[in-house]
Amino acid sequence: MYFDSFTDFIDMGGHGLYVWLAYSIALVIVAFNVVSPILRKKQFIAEYRRRLKREQRLNERKASESTQ
């Protein structure tokens, strides 16, 4: 371990603000790149399923109308 104490580690020899700001931006960008495609895929599947259900209901109604 390079630093003597945890406060030393946070302070980064007076450069704490710069170092931690850079690392937090990195964390945000990494998280965004991972989360956004996962959400997009989930959303696509949810929408697709809704559409399939709607079509199924429509087909059932048509089938019941034709038998009457």
Partner: protein, 251 residues
Amino acid sequence: MAKTWKMPTWFYRLGSPRWSFEIMGKLLPWFAIAAALLMACGVVWGLAFAPADYQQGNSFRIIYIHVPSAILAQSCYMLMAVAGAVSLIWKMKVADMVAKSCAPIGATLAVLALATGAIWGKPTWGTWWVWDARLTAMLILLFLYIGVYTLHSAIENEITAGKAGAVLSLVGIVNIPIIKYSVEWWNTLHQGSTFTVTERPKMAPEMWMPLLVMVVGFYCFFTVVLMLRTRAEILEREKRSSWVKELVEAR
């Protein structure tokens, strides 16, 4: 009789969106594990164990984010241009989807490289920004990414959008050697390369070893997010095919 040129079989298989979707799904967890381990290890090593720079002090620890993101922003661009060329030449759908997926990832990586560079520049050079050759070329890279992304999303017709994006990324590739050699061609504030293929790093091993871990970790991370994005793109564009319907129904 003229012998016809044939590409390896996997190249033709890549032309199948379904095959690509499945193979990416199988590869994803392994790259995700590698990326998580390497990046966690690299960050802890770089932040807490590597020695401080004798001139720059602890602000130099920004290098463990800055250099990998700058390298990846350029690698991502080259992949985007090559995938664009493949889609232009062989009309390969998956290549076009890869090229399209590269643009937003590359843009965020370029933003990260520029932002960390500015934050590092403040305590080191005394300024957030200078119109230096390397910095300006990197800013142009970001604009190229934004341009390609805009073309892909603004043009309704997927084929036309893909062609336009591919042409812009191929024209913009001249910027890559400019970024690389900018520190040698012009007098610049930016320091020279840390890693070169032919020479040993000028840095102490305790400093460049965590950097190497981070660079490899970033490559794995890029592979993961590119596959995630491409898979989402494949599903959306192949929504009319029966295998996507089956896949949604099986959920």
